[in-house]
Subunit: 139 residues, 2 copies
């Protein structure tokens, strides 16, 4: 689902990162993709979009955030604050965010290093570097 | 402005936390308040709301995030990821978030400990504890 979301974002002319949040029992709570371009919204990274689309939840205990790319500090902070239990990451080759910090603080972290996703982001960054660096706040 | 935003949030029946983001030259970029109740949106804390309302920015160098309450990990991660230079915090008595971590990573952090804001949050937490703990992801 996260890969589908990333590809939808790419097809919309946006940043190709997708995410999905699952309950402990495997039920989908919310899915989404980066919406910086589509909505002119700097606050909607893939993970925050999936989190928002999950609606208000009383507890995130046992949940898993699946994301195509290593979560940046903003999205890592989201995971830590709300007590999301696990993060499944498509790849951390093109960007290395805060997932080591999450693991240190008890979050279950798995990095797949999916080569299709590495190529998706590598191509995107080479084609749209200014957009990519804007999205991660690098001058 | 952040205090005005917090009071607007309270008047709307929401969580009374406000924020405003300023450019290096003092110009307002965006202001906002927590919108969990108003929009049923778990992703819109005061700081993320101000950040969103600031629109897309190429750089946050020199900017200051003013917030009525110590930023949680989610909002602290936002500050770190986007290179917001300074955080001015109304109070850190009723909630102690990630501002020490931000200071360790080079962000200029000032805590005012405004007693009016301490009372605003103390009253809110005592009246709506379930809403408050939902907003910070505590079971």
């Amino acid at each position: 689902m996260a890969i589908e979301e990333a590809k939808t974002g790419r097809a919309e002319g946006g940043i190709p990162i997708g995410a999905a949040l699952f309950a402990a029992d495997g039920r989908l709570l919310g899915r989404g993709h980066n919406r910086r371009v589509q909505d002119n919204d700097a606050s909607m990274h893939a993970e925050t979009s999936a989190f928002r689309n999950a609606g208000r939840q009383r507890s995130y205990r046992g949940t898993t955030m699946v994301t195509t790319l290593s979560p940046c500090w903003y999205c890592s902070g989201l995971v830590r604050q709300f007590g999301i239990s696990n993060v499944l990451i498509g790849e951390a080759t093109t960007f290395h965010g805060g997932h080591d910090w999450l693991a240190e603080h008890g979050v279950g972290v798995t990095v797949v290093e999916d080569q299709e996703l590495v190529e998706l982001m590598t191509t995107f960054i080479s084609e749209r570097p200014e957009l990519w660096y804007e999205d991660i706040g690098q001058d």
